[in-house]
Symmetry: C2
Subunit: 205 residues, 2 copies
């Protein structure tokens, strides 16, 4: 009765087989990155198609929804973020690993204006293109958090979800920052201060 697994990811963009399709796909993605970078995730799709040199129907053929296009532009970056968590989980100082990854995660989530809002709503909404990315981020949060808590440097009552909320709220603050005034770094310091207890057991508890 339930839909096959493929149906869940039916809205996800896939790089086409044919050479001309792949070229268009890549051009649209490149144009989208530029447009989202300048105008946020609500940038005009017609402008993106025009900049990519394709008809608007071609854009929709590859990316059925705006969110699918956004997801595709972020896929590599979010894969990198997960890889970074895996690598940091092997380093010697769990608290330092957590704080470093926290800052990386905030940077990734504030890549485009509007992105973090999508991440926040995708987190508990299965079937959205960005849901998978949110699950991956939760897993990375848990991975680094458990180790940091095990070493006694991070308050034990903190959940991966708490960490995710802190990251997205800081990313939203950065998203709204201007060159003149960016309170996000200070907010990150305050948030990390709230959860990290330095100078406890030095290492292997």
């Amino acid at each position: 009765m339930s839909p096959p697994p493929a149906a869940r990811s039916a809205t996800l963009a896939r790089r086409p087989q044919r050479a001309d399709g792949r070229r268009n796909y890549d051009n649209i993605l490149a144009a989208a990155r530029t447009a989202f970078d300048e105008g946020g995730t609500s940038a005009s799709l017609e402008d993106i198609a025009r900049a990519a040199g394709v008809a608007i129907g071609t854009l929709y053929g590859h990316f059925p929804t705006r969110e699918a296009l956004i997801e595709a532009t972020m896929r590599d970056g979010l894969d990198q973020l997960r890889a970074s968590a895996d690598a940091l989980a092997e380093t010697e100082n769990p608290a330092a690993a957590l704080t470093l990854w926290f800052r990386q995660a905030v940077a990734h989530c504030s890549t485009f204006r509007g992105l973090v809002g999508l991440l926040a709503t995708s987190s508990y909404d299965e079937g959205t293109p960005l849901h998978h990315a949110c699950v991956a981020m939760h897993e990375s949060c848990g991975q680094l958090l458990r180790r940091a808590q095990g070493s006694g440097h991070v308050r034990a009552d903190l959940s991966p979800d708490d960490l995710f909320t802190m990251i997205t709220s800081a990313a939203w603050t950065r998203e709204n920052a201007t060159a003149d005034h960016d309170p996000s770094d200070r907010l990150i310091d305050l948030l990390l201060d709230a959860i990290i207890r330095t100078g406890r057991e030095t290492s292997a508890g």
Copy 2:
């Protein structure tokens, strides 16, 4: 050479003198509150005009920009928030006053989806309709913060701007919450934990 004070607030909506205009103004405001409540601050202005029983031109006549309309729907609420800060500044427990007002401020800033984003960008952008509200909030932050810091219950390196950033980030988190999952209360607790030091000097330091 600089424009007269009136020019600054030229974009602010004013309740008209004539009876028919005042009736339309009030109807538009009521319709806007309903629409923003349901669809966020990007709700259709044509729908609002229709619900208010006026032509679209009438809406623009009273509220030259979307932001002016949003500001008008929030004016009373934000005045109340300032009055609440003034009242709480007279109570005996400065730390309790600060935490209580913090929660009230978060609630006000998350009245409509999209509002807090406007507040964040209006904060350092003079001439926007909501700038005055942001200045008022900063003043309330400073008022309650100074007293709480004076009593030794709040870390001394915290600025009114830090507090404002914390409030908006929590409000954004609430804005994106669903009935199933609202991490904003927990985030508020973590943020307040980060700045409040309970059990120090009990009262008059």
